[in-house]
């Protein structure tokens, strides 16, 4: 097992790893667990403080969170595989989101509706996302060590190409006529496209069995009204299972080996560039599906903006859940979505209550998203530097 060697050398300097925590007992163990989860714990405390300050109705919060968990988890989970393969946070999922939107534009144009239309959009998005993911990999394989910043710029670049296709070429070079979704001039798509054809297609896909609606009372305490997006959560759970399965396959092992140390993996006979390409293609396809899930819940598409912030928010959520640029689990993703979105719901209300200015909360949550990413990146880069310094000194 070639990947064992780098795994150990990577773990030893880090006092917070599980292996180390097991060696000691009780207090030290609790301390280690707290230390390891300090980021989510900090955000949990912040969330609770916000909820109290805003005086938020818990039933409202839970209902909102259920919806947001369904709508965002898939996108956040699409980030995991590139992290395992050592590519860091994949800012390039923006490209996948574009592929999802392109597929959705096609199905909306032909008027395919309901769960069938949604499924077709998911199918159509696969080849588009695969090609885009492969192109992303071509670029990122040329920028080893700078994948994140390159992925981010690639997202901006791809946004330009996306706008070129859907704002200029569509209707001018690419023949298409559809006054419902296109601008009056017949060239380019409208800024917002109504998605009522597939609105809630997945969230309410199991309505014929149970609509997921909960409204009851326990004693005198009201529970609900909540609405659970059952099928979306089932699909997300399936993805989580698929990812944990993939990690244990031969391909997953190769990705881990590449993620630990590219050079050692290369020596061990693994095709590094190919493994990284596969990881990025999978991530891009998943991001396309994730964007589809997101949009069927929202119900309208901001043709030229919906995808822009996808990367930032998904990455911030994952980091709030305690992930780093080199290590992320499914639980980091789920906990992160819950905490990050609690803050998202709470902060404008808390800003209104505490300072009387609702915009303070609006800006605070944007600051939070960027700040979390900045701190996480800085911490990681700093740890990596300390580690390499220690290795240089032979510790």
């Amino acid at each position: 097992m070639p990947e064992k060697v780098p795994a150990q050398s990577a773990n030893t300097p880090n006092a917070q790893t599980q292996a180390h925590a097991h060696a000691h007992v009780n207090t030290k163990k609790i301390g280690a667990v707290l230390g390891k989860n300090s980021v989510p714990i900090f955000f949990l405390l912040l969330s609770i403080g916000g909820i109290i300050a805003a005086g938020l109705d818990i039933n409202y919060l839970i209902n909102e969170l259920l919806g947001r968990l369904g709508r965002n988890s898939f996108l956040v989970l699409s980030l995991l595989i590139p992290i395992i393969a050592g590519l860091g946070l994949n800012f390039g999922i923006v490209v996948g989101a574009m592929a999802g939107q392109a597929a959705l534009i096609i199905t909306t144009h032909y008027g395919w509706t309901g769960l069938g239309g949604f499924g077709l959009a998911a199918l159509i998005s696969v080849p588009i996302a695969m090609v885009l993911g492969w192109l992303t990999a071509l670029v990122l394989n040329k920028a080893k060590g700078r994948e994140m910043v390159t992925g981010m710029i690639l997202g901006f670049f791809a946004n330009g190409v996306y706008q070129l296709v859907f704002l200029v070429l569509l209707g001018w070079v690419i023949p298409m006529k559809n006054p419902a979704i296109m601008l009056p001039s017949g060239i380019g798509l409208k800024n917002t496209i109504d998605l009522f054809d597939i609105s809630y297609a997945l969230d309410r896909g199991l309505d014929f069995i149970w609509d997921g609606f909960i409204m009851t009372e326990v004693g005198s305490i009201p529970i609900g009204p909540w609405r659970i997006p059952i099928l979306t959560l089932v699909v997300t759970a399936l993805l989580a299972w698929a990812i944990s399965f993939l990690i244990r396959t031969r391909l997953g092992q190769q990705m881990r080996a590449v993620g630990q140390d590219m050079h050692i993996a290369e020596v061990a006979g693994i095709n590094v560039n190919r493994t990284r390409t596969v990881a990025l293609v999978i991530s891009t396809v998943l991001a396309a599906w994730g964007q589809l899930i997101f949009l069927q819940n929202i119900g309208t598409m901001n043709t030229y903006n919906s995808h822009e912030q996808v990367g930032t928010f998904a990455i911030a959520a994952l980091l709030v859940g305690g992930a780093t640029t080199r290590k992320a689990t499914i639980w980091n993703a789920i906990v992160g979505v819950l905490l990050f979105h609690t803050l998202f719901i709470v902060s404008p209300l808390a800003g209104q209550k505490l300072l009387g200015i609702p915009q303070v909360g609006e800006y605070f949550r944007v600051f939070l998203a960027y700040g979390v990413i900045a701190v996480a990146l800085a911490l990681h880069a700093w740890q990596a530097k300390v580690k390499s310094n220690k290795e240089l000194r032979g510790e």
């Binding site: 700078r146 981010m152 200015i357 990596a384």
Partner: protein
């Protein structure tokens, strides 16, 4: 580039036929030319020439096109120049430029709140911004030191979070000047502050003159260009000084620099602080030319055009010169300024026009950055 060059060299000594030799010579010449001129610079130059030729064909007002371009070059020049110190000291492109920009904006806002006008207002804004940007630059350098190797990514998000965090400051700033705060609520600075009654255009109008030749009329913003030129000369002289030479050594070969007794840490701090200070002065120059101070989310993406400009000028992640700043600014900002009116004229009022030039900006700007990021080999 170097790859293509070696290939051409390897082929040259095998003269199978005279035609082949000539072909190889052409390939070699082309490869040499591309290496010397740079692919992004070549593409942009071609674009720009095409636009200017179109402008001539469609009988557009060349004077105002070129005048506006010159203004735009001077307006952005210092922000582009701010990239030189960080590249030279080995910290890469300064994606965290908004850190400096924010300091400049704070200076600009407080100078305005004191009701200062003209050059007084302009220079007080700079004076207020200077200490702030030195402190902010020092803190930023301290952070970058800890994350060596990931400066660009960390810098980007530090810049973003500073901009978002400062939005809260703009909302709650203790400023009472009614022309600066929201009309309703009595608190919070407006999204854009109009500088026309304060120090708008002080540099642009300083010694400004018109060149008129027949139909051709063009305004030269002398003060603006002199100010930009002055800082270029200062930077040039700095890199002739002892400290400047030491910084060059740190950027090009850190091991050699360390072994010859240069304090690498100090050089990197100096470079980052210089860049932050230039960012602060740069945004004040930008604002006086534009006529508005743009607060809140406006500075979020301001580092990217500056980065694209210096890269188009031929800089790499490790090396940048003053001439690259000037060439890059002229090429990129002239392109941006001329693209919109020319495309609109050519497409004759079609709604697509505005879209195309903005899309072209996004593709060119980010394409240039992508090219640079993927070009340098592994470290």
């Amino acid at each position: 580039m170097s790859n293509a060059n070696t290939n051409a060299n390897a082929n040259a000594p095998t003269p199978a036929s005279s035609g082949r030799v000539a072909e190889n010579r052409i390939i070699k010449a082309v490869a040499n030319f591309l290496e010397w001129y740079g692919v992004p610079r070549l593409i942009i130059t071609c674009f720009l020439l095409a636009l200017l030729i179109l402008a001539v064909i469609y009988r557009m007002d060349l004077g105002s096109l070129l005048g506006d371009s010159l203004k735009r070059v001077g307006m952005n020049g210092l922000l582009v120049l701010a990239m030189v110190p960080t590249i030279t000291c080995g910290a890469g492109l300064n994606f965290g430029l908004p850190v400096g920009i924010i300091c400049g904006l704070v200076g600009g806002v407080f100078s305005m709140s004191m009701n200062l006008t003209g050059f007084t207002g302009f220079f007080v804004a700079i004076l207020l911004a200077l200490p702030l940007s030195v402190i902010a630059g020092w803190l930023y350098a301290k952070l970058l030191e800890k994350v060596a190797g990931q400066e660009m990514m960390v810098g980007t998000y530090v810049g973003f979070s500073v901009v978002a965090g400062m939005a809260i400051f703009w909302l709650t700033a203790p400023i009472k000047n009614p022309s600066m705060i929201f009309a309703i609520g009595g608190q919070g600075l407006r999204y854009t502050l109009t500088l026309y009654d304060y120090y708008a255009g002080v540099l642009n109008n300083f010694l400004a003159f018109n060149i008129v030749i027949g139909n051709f009329a063009m305004t030269i913003p002398t003060g603006l260009l002199l100010f930009f030129g002055f800082f270029c000369v200062l930077m040039y002289l700095f890199f002739r000084s002892r400290t400047g030479l030491a910084m060059l050594a740190v950027g090009s070969n850190p091991e050699y620099a360390a072994s010859s007794g240069i304090n690498i840490r100090k050089m990197r701090y100096t470079g980052v602080i210089m860049s932050t200070v230039l960012g602060a002065i740069g945004i004040i120059v930008y604002a006086q030319s534009y006529g508005f101070l743009q607060l809140y989310n406006a500075p979020l993406y301001m580092a990217f055009p500056a980065i694209a400009a210096i890269l188009i000028g031929g800089a790499t992640l490790r090396k940048a010169t003053i001439s690259q700043v000037i060439i890059g600014s002229i090429l990129f900002f002239t392109l941006l300024t001329t693209a919109l009116p020319v495309v609109q004229t050519v497409l004759d009022g079609s709604e697509v026009g505005g879209g195309i030039s903005e899309i072209a900006r996004m593709i060119i700007q980010n394409g240039a950055i992508l090219y640079a990021l993927t070009r340098v080999g592994r470290r």
